[in-house]
């Protein structure tokens, strides 16, 4: 299991356990993390599971695919460290990952 910390826009941090192979979005939904909507259920089709990857983790998480970039165009308040959490797969190297949820998703 890998630990993932979600910090909301007001600074409240919540840490959850995520199974390797699942996505960061799934970990959020399973644990009722507020601020992640995932309207489309993980199809990279709605941009409502948008997160900002903590600066220290940007490199480890990596860059979005071109399909994800396309979908990020629809996200609210996009920044250089924006990612869609349904496209970040949990693996051992991401144990301790910190992501920030935006003020709203749409």
């Amino acid at each position: 299991m890998a630990k993932i910390q979600f910090i909301d826009f007001q600074g409240t941090a919540r840490t959850v356990e995520a199974e390797p192979g699942s996505t960061v979005m799934e970990a959020a939904i399973r644990n009722g993390i507020p601020g992640i909507e995932a309207e489309c259920g993980g199809a990279c089709a709605c941009a409502t599971c948008h997160v900002y990857v903590n600066e220290a983790w940007v490199e480890a998480v990596g860059a979005p695919s071109s399909m994800e970039e396309d979908m990020l165009d629809f996200a609210y308040d996009i920044r250089p460290n924006s990612r869609l959490s349904c496209q970040i797969r949990v693996e051992a190297g991401l144990d301790g990952l910190i992501v920030h949820t935006p003020e709203r998703q749409a």
Binding site: E39, G41, C46, S66, E69, D70, D73, F74, Y76, I78
Partner: protein
């Protein structure tokens, strides 16, 4: 305004559940009209995941969103439902009684229906344009900021800033360029996910100096009394710049909002409509809610649950529409009268 459509059932939402309700009503000799805010049928299946396989539709080990909708469309064809697309219901007025309900329903295109029953199959609500996070944007909406182009003429001779990188942004850049004083297209990156042909045309216009292409994001708006004079923008390196404009069209895709449903006098709880589990009727007799938009103990937001809910709601609709008739339960496999309705015999 045209004469109202008089109907037995009006379905709001042309997603899988609304479409299948047409079938269940049709078997009971109830004709339906169907309204949807999107320009096409299919709801989330067609808008969010047309290519994505769904694995939990009974009888289909795997079916894509679009294929499911195409099949449902073929299945309900015998009942020739009338679709009213790109329209949103704005008001529902009760004209009848609890025993003999009648509703006057009006859309934003001024289409009026008089229907005995109303079936809300609106899923997550109506798809509406996403608004960009620009402080004070509300003050400019409908005068200088438009999320959709209803009438091109209203934009003739204006300095238009179009924001976004998809098909809507590109299509409107190409369509408005000939009639605008100036079109500026702004996108956060120098890559566009629109149809390659549109992107090519846009690049050619930019190269010829007929439009301005800027890479960046809008951070603020300048103007007074709802009249826009410029957009404050920032590029990827953090450099600020201004784009002079008197109209702005942001195209950031769609999101689902409950919308006017909240004002129809139904009880609504956390953006869902509570129903009973016998008839899937709301707190207002004659108004039903099926699919993702309803709630009841044990509710699962599955397409298959919505199909079941539509079948049961149709039974109750029948009693409102044909109060004198007794309904006998029949199977499509064996009933010649059902098969006749389906055009098989």
């Amino acid at each position: 305004m045209t004469a109202p459509h008089s109907t037995d059932a009006l379905i709001i939402g042309a997603g899988p559940v609304g479409l299948f309700a047409v079938f269940e009503l049709g078997l009971l000799d109830i004709k339906a009209h169907v309204i949807d805010i999107l320009p096409k049928i299919g709801g989330q299946c067609a808008e969010l995941y047309p290519e994505k396989p769904i694995y939990d539709i009974p009888g289909f080990p795997s079916v894509t969103g679009q294929a499911l909708i195409d099949n449902l469309k073929a299945q309900i064809e015998p009942f020739s439902p009338q679709f009213h697309l790109s329209e949103m219901v704005v008001s529902v007025q009760s004209l009848g009684t609890a025993e003999a309900p009648l509703f006057r329903v009006t859309t934003d295109a001024d289409t009026v229906f008089e229907t005995k029953t109303l079936i809300i199959a609106a899923g997550g609500g109506s798809f509406q344009p996403k608004k960009p996070p620009i402080p004070g944007i509300e003050a400019f909406e409908d005068t200088s900021v438009f999320y959709a182009v209803r009438r091109m003429e209203a934009l003739r001779g204006r300095k238009i800033l179009i924001v976004g990188g998809g098909d809507s942004a590109l299509d409107w850049t190409l369509n408005l360029q000939p009639i605008a004083e100036r079109v500026t297209l702004m996108h956060r990156r120098d890559e566009f996910r629109a149809a390659p042909h549109s992107v090519e045309q846009m690049r050619a216009l930019a190269a010829a100096g007929d439009i301005d292409l800027r890479i960046g994001q809008v951070s603020g708006l300048k103007g007074e009394g709802g009249v826009l004079s410029a957009a404050l923008c920032r590029d990827a390196s953090g450099q600020d710049f201004e784009v002079e404009c008197d109209a702005m069209l942001p195209f950031f895709g769609l999101t689902m909002k409950l919308g006017p449903i909240a004002d129809w006098g139904l009880s609504v709880h956390e953006n869902l409509i509570p129903v009973d589990t016998e008839k899937f009727e709301t707190s207002t007799p004659g108004i039903f809610a099926i699919g993702d938009i309803n709630s009841y103990p044990g509710k699962l937001k599955l397409i298959l649950s919505g199909f079941h809910e539509g079948a049961l709601a149709a039974q109750r609709v029948h009693r409102y529409v044909y109060p004198e008739k007794r309904l006998t339960f029949q199977y499509t496999t064996s009933s010649s009268s059902l098969q006749k309705k389906l055009g098989i015999v």
